[in-house]
């Protein structure tokens, strides 16, 4: 169900600048509730750091935003769209056009070059790829000269840059990053964060991290303890 910014869903008033809004969300695995988010609004363009213990539901929160998971009860509104009410195909389409994912383990495909990995996201969004656009985003993350390299030929830092480029190539409104610096050394992690925050400037960024030193970089932080069911 589309909800205009400043509108309502399930009786909740959505702030006009809200990009992501949770209302009375309970998410459970089997019969066990793991997340309870009565009310959460994340304004457009905010960079939000999410922290909490393992198993506290950080990654699940990201998946609820992307529509890979749907809440057991309640609603999740993203970019004016009640994602939790959409059918699976519509959620997939929504994710392809509005969400960029950055993973801890990069999840790049070995058989493809860096630029091909970036173009994969375009194919699943529009069915077509645009090499020029992919090269442009690789240039923004400082990897234009390694566009033809396979992931195995790149350092872990470079692989994560490719992953960031892939997340940004469709110009999504929201970037979801699941511990993107989790497998990097401190120096590389800091550089990757610089890149991520630079290319995601103006976009809504939700980033899960265990590294509390990173939290200072965000306009807002969420402690998952608040949402433990």
């Amino acid at each position: 169900m589309p909800v205009s910014a400043g509108g309502t869903t399930s009786g909740k008033v959505i702030p006009s600048d809200s990009m992501i809004s949770f209302h009375n969300v309970i998410h459970q695995y089997g019969r066990r509730p793991v997340l309870r988010i009565p009310d959460l609004d994340i304004p457009s363009g905010h960079h939000v750091g999410i922290h909490g213990e393992s198993g506290s539901g950080k990654t699940s929160l990201l998946h609820l935003v992307s529509g890979l998971l749907t809440p057991s009860t309640g609603s999740v509104v993203v970019h004016g769209q009640t994602v939790s009410d959409l059918g699976e195909a519509a959620r997939d389409h929504f994710r392809a056009s509005h969400i960029g994912y950055v993973f801890q383990t990069f999840n790049l495909l070995d058989g493809f070059s860096a630029v091909d990995n970036v173009m994969l996201a375009q194919v699943f969004n529009t069915g077509r790829s645009d090499r020029g656009q992919a090269m442009s985003i690789l240039e923004r993350v400082g990897l234009a000269d390694r566009a033809s390299s396979r992931p195995s030929e790149l350092s872990v830092g470079q692989q994560q840059r490719v992953c960031i480029a892939r997340a940004l190539v469709n110009d999504p409104h929201i970037v979801l990053a699941d511990e993107p610096t989790g497998s990097l050394d401190a120096g590389t992690a800091s550089a990757i964060m610089d890149v991520l925050q630079e290319v995601a400037a103006g976009k809504t960024l939700l980033m899960v991290t265990h590294d509390r030193s990173m939290l200072g970089r965000f306009e807002r932080t969420l402690d998952m303890e608040e949402f433990r069911a």
Partner: protein, 435 residues
Amino acid sequence: MTIVSIIRSNMAKRPLSTGLTVLSVALASALILSVNTIQRQTDESYRQTSAGFDLILAAKGSPMQTALNTLYHLETSTGVIPFAVYQAALRDPRVEAAYPFYVGDSYRGLRVVGTVQRYLAQGEPSKDRRFELAAGRLFEGLNEVVLGAEAARRTGHAIGDTLVLSHGLTEPQAGAERLEHDAHPVVVTGVLRPTGTAHDRVLFTDLRTTAGLHEIRPHHDDTHAHEHAPHVPTVSDVDAVALKMKNPQLAMQVAGTLNFPTPENPVLRMNMARDPYFGFKPGVMAVLPAQQIAALMAIVGNAERVLRILSVLVLVVALATVLVALINTMDSRRRDLAVFRALGARRGQLLRIMVGEASVLVLIGSVMGWLACQVLLSLLAPVLLETAGVRIAAFHSIPQDLAIVGGLAAASVLVGLLPGWSAYRSDPIRHLQPS
């Protein structure tokens, strides 16, 4: 970057599995395409060759042997029959055309068939098709031969060449002496165009020439010179007489006279005795070529059926190999598939990737199999022509082959559905977790 690129990358990632799967499909499709092509072309070749005659009169014996000998230049004749049978056929108002045949000699393993010039001028080697000269002219006088296309190719002889024919139909065994008709060399006067039948590997000559080769004449010594009047050999026997009836049903009448027992009823007996062939009844049989070809096809068809069932089974195994290859790789693919989903891939796209991969594997295998089939047919063609008198050709039945390859591609869609469904049902959340 397209879905096809993803499929190509998946295949390139597992070269051994991809290669072996493609190979198994290629072998299976080569087998089924070869069996199908050989069966179709053999059937066509046998049926077309028999189309020119309604009846063959020959010495009593095996009707199949007679059909093979007369139509396909295989086997030996069942014996000889009087030349008078041919003469009776020429007078028979029911007969549209009659051609005598005598086979007893060969040249470098190729049969020499004695007949009448009219056979090459008017006879039909296959349905609605006449002999055509590629070069030269038909034989007219004695000791002249016309070469079938394959015979000319194999011997390398051309118009004007002189040949010495050998007695007998096969090459003598090692150590055995070859009996040459060197007293009667023959001259090549013409070469026929290919007919696509067993006639292509035959040398045709006048019946009187073959009779002359075997005629025993008392001769004087050569110490004195004098002139003989040109001697024309007398034809007394032939191996077979092939008849084209004015109405094909009349062939049954003649067959009835020659093959059925003489009725004891005097009226019926007298009626049968009016048939011009009745006098030859004790030593002559009538063979209906269409019946013999049908019987031959039934025998060959049984073997082909078994082979076809086997090749279909091999194909099913090959398709199962594709299925197993895809299923076996599902575990290693699940993370990739989960990433695709996180990037926005619809379940339907994952299904398309898996089905597409199965189709590409089968399509590449089928095309390779088709090419292998054409190579196999090219290699088998001379052997089949030599041993069975059947001419088969590679790159001949492309539409039928395409239909089979298309059928295989369709089957591959079914094969891809199972792993495709598994990909479709795969839970991305589970496989996106760092291992």
